[in-house]
Amino acid sequence: MNILISHNWLKEYLQTNASPEQIAKYLSLCGPSVERVTKVNGDFVYDIEITTNRVDMMSILGIGREARAILPQFNIQTSLKQPKLAQDIKPKGEILPIAIKDPDHLCYRVLGVVMDNVKLGPSPKLIQQRLEKTGIRSLNNAVDVTNYVMTEIGHPAHVFDYDRITTKKLVLRKAKKGEKIISLEGKEYTLTGGDIVIDDGTGKIIDLPGIIGTQNSIVTSQTKRVLLFIEANNPYQIRKSSMELGIRTVAATLNEKGVDPELAKTALLRGIQLFKELTGSKVASPIHDIYPQPYKPKDVKTSLEMITQRLGVEINSQRIEKILTALGFKVKIKTLNNQTEFIVTVPSLRARDINIPEDIVEEVARIYGYHNLPSIIPPLYQLPEKPEENNFIWEKKTKTLLRDWGFTETYTYTFQSKKELKQFKLEPEKHLKLKNPLTKDWVYLRTNLIPSLLSVLKENRGVKEEVKIFELSSVFIPQENKLPLEKQKLVLLWQASKFYTLKGVCEALLHELGIKKLKFVNVNKEKYFNWHPVRTALIKSKGKNLGLIGLLKPSIVQNFTLKKPVVAAYLNFDIISSLANNKKTYLPIPKYPAVIEDLSFLISQKETTQKIIKIIKNSHPLVTKVKLKDIYKTVKTFEIHYQDPDKSLAAEEVSKARRKIILNLKQIDILLKGGLEI
């Protein structure tokens, strides 16, 4: 949350010679972050970001307190004056009655005082200017006092028209669902129930405390008497009501962070003082104060050992004490057996955010200055164990190879739309979906990457060259009562009818990953209904399913308005990683030359190359290598290597092996072309 602080206003309390640049710089280094300093008519305005745990800084005096502790660290003398407060004494003269009740203890503290003789009018120029620099509109002197107090002291304040509270009664209660209010801006709100409201005793709501005033009780141009009212609110309820109703006033944003109830009294006394100065009014009632549980100071203990260890630098106790004292803490130092202990008493202002020794460490460290700490790479004595599944090397290798083979990597979003699922004939019910999606297209957590990449092809329809893309990402398979199974999938899409070329890429990739023995199997066309039933293969190795490679069904591809055919590889990268290895094997280089010859066969039947090669290889032990060399219509030519590791082969030995090959193939009706005499 941000606050705009006027430099001149700050200087009314902060006595220092520091320039605005210095104040901005040093505050940012050790405390709140000054995002910008703007020059405004002989003044400077700091735009300061304050973290949600330090609502105590959201004021002139809050920043003043920080500066008072920080600037001396940079050798700048600084002191902080206190604001002029009214005295807390019973007024002389007529007492105006007011009854304030909080029977259910909905607020931590409730304060009220009646002011009489209010001369309503514009505020003095200085007050108006200061409020404007803070970003608050000046309305009239009565309302301005509440905003001035909030900005200066840091506690929101409110002012009622005393005479409009006809019952002279204010009762804090919880709202019932459906109750309505009209805010001071004239807007009607329906409460959801549980909101803290002020009832005038007749059931009528006359305020939404801590958030916004209501039209029926606020100050008007006719106001002569006011009730100055400050309550310390329950931060959770304030946030709930404020967010649900959508009313985000400055007061609400402060109150939902939990402002110090002790500060409420200071704010009231300051308010009274200003009311007297600005409106000429006088106090017409004692100060009503409902404070069931006043702040009991708490102690947080820490040690010199802990502080020096956490900072990573030697620092003496006196320095620590000085820092903490400057921040408003009370410090008792105890030494026992060479151990120095600090007992730190926490002021009410810091009660919410200082609870554990680490909080004290932060206070010391930031004022000492993080810039004064050394910079040391943490020493390494022992390497932690790597996780079992360490696929990163295989990922890197895979992506680099695909890049070198001309593929472009994509990163598509995790979500798919119902339309995309339907276009790929997937069932939305079998997917996890978001309860609170951002748009209607990003709803389902994908179980298959392909639709996302088909959409990429669609997006790039205008491209002239062949599109070759790949992606390695997770898919999410729903599991009952468990987190979804996150599987890593590698998908390659090639917008061309290049089955064998893509198959070659897959074979080469798997080979580089150490997976050399592959089997290609026909697919079950019911299970893989998005793929061409015949031009698709399941890739297997060591009995495991590595994935699919094939032509996507043209009708599916057309659903994505793509006209060209698409071949795809969809691989299970987890399984591939589990089989991937860098194992090296060495086969001694044969001493004797191999006999290499080409044999051409007439393949009239529909036999797979895989099968034929297997038959040839198994025909005779001398056959060491078989490669498909050429295809021309129904003739397939194989390059066959015959080798004996111990000697050079004679022609008759090769003939013997060749005859076996021809015979074995003849048994499945595959004949040697040219009809060699056996």
Binding site: T51, R310, I377, L383, T400, T410, L432, F476, N481
Partner: protein
């Protein structure tokens, strides 16, 4: 004898006039091959009377040597001729490039980041993108009403809540990885960098609904703020350049105490302040000393051990480094080939 003499002269002449390597090779086979001319003469040798045999043999040997030398000389002269071939040659014509694909910017960024940390002993890990509330928030000391846990900022999965672990969410930060890693190792030393996808319910010029973060965590005995500084300074100098360093400023996170915002010095003025950067520093991301409640949630004793953690955006950090003027973060995930093919 005379025949041999004539043969030698003819052969030498032919060799000298050979115009190509192939021609020379053919001549070599013709004269010196197994079935070549010289060997034919050798066969005739056996038919000669003894005194003539010796003389003929010597002459034949000389002839053979002369031919071999001539061939060798002609071979090298042909080679050097080739070197000084002076026909016009267009050296500017585009070469035939091998296939060139592209690795996504994010992949390149992640690779660079993980290598930097691996060099100082950090182990790379990756943890689920779909997580339980307990891992994403509860164990990280975030109270139930923290804004990050409400439906405006985080994506919730439409499924039954788990009695022990709470609602199912898409993790908005890699910090859930801290808990997972500490549970895996059970006790220090812990030294990890978790780089993974995160999702948040915001999509505009500076936010994408899906993005990547890298999260570092070191837990051991006597880990201090100085160690966090050392690590971030090391990263800055490796990733951004030798004169780049970081600074820590106070901030507030629920899962760290103290918490910091980390800045990096401006590449142009190195921290002094200039027109481009104004303050001299650019925001990098958040960090802090691990909150004792977080250690307790995974049964690590905060009295014995301490640690630091930091979590930064991959996209943001990388764009700052390369000075890539990509104005709209959503461009990174656009998948337009005209964008992808630039890297």
């Amino acid at each position: 004898m005379e025949e041999l003499h004539n043969f030698k002269n003819e052969a030498l002449a032919l060799i000298t006039e050979a115009k190509s390597k192939q021609e020379l090779e053919d001549l070599k086979v013709k004269f010196l091959g197994r079935k070549g001319e010289v060997n034919k003469f050798l066969q005739n040798l056996t038919q000669l009377p003894p005194e003539e045999k010796k003389r003929f043999g010597q002459l034949l040997n000389q002839t053979k040597q002369a031919l071999e030398q001539a061939i060798a000389r002609k071979e090298s002269s042909l080679v050097s001729q080739q070197e000084t071939k002076l026909d016009w040659f267009d050296i500017t014509r585009p070469g035939k490039k091998p296939p060139q694909g592209n690795l996504h910017l994010i992949t390149q960024a992640i690779e660079e980041i993980s290598t930097i940390f691996e060099k100082i002993g950090f182990i790379r890990v990756r943890y689920p993108e779909v997580e339980w509330d307990w891992y994403a928030f509860e164990s990280l000391n975030m109270p139930k009403d923290h804004p990050a846990r409400d439906e405006w900022e985080t994506f919730f999965v439409d499924t039954q809540e788990n009695k022990k672990w709470g609602k199912m969410v898409l993790t908005p930060h890699t910090s859930s990885g801290q808990i997972r890693e500490m549970q895996r190792l059970k006790k220090p030393p812990i030294r990890m960098v978790n780089i993974a996808k995160c999702h948040r319910r915001q999509h505009d010029v500076t936010h994408t609904v899906m993005f990547h973060q890298f999260e570092g965590l070191v837990v051991d005995k006597n880990i201090s703020i100085a160690h966090l500084k050392g690590t971030t300074d090391y990263f800055a100098s490796q990733f951004y350049g030798p004169q780049r360093k970081t600074r820590l400023r106070p901030f507030n996170f629920k899962f760290t105490e103290p918490s910091f915002e980390i800045d990096i010095n401006c590449p142009l003025c190195l921290g002094k302040g200039c027109r481009t950067c104004k303050s001299g520093w650019h925001e990098l991301g958040g960090a802090g000393m691990v909150h004792p409640n977080v250690l307790k949630a995974v049964n690590i004793d905060p009295e014995k051990y301490s640690g630091f953690a930091f979590g930064w955006g991959v996209e943001r950090s990388y764009l700052m480094k390369e000075d890539l003027k990509i104005d709209d973060l959503r461009t990174i995930y656009s998948n337009d080939l005209r964008f992808l093919k630039q890297f």
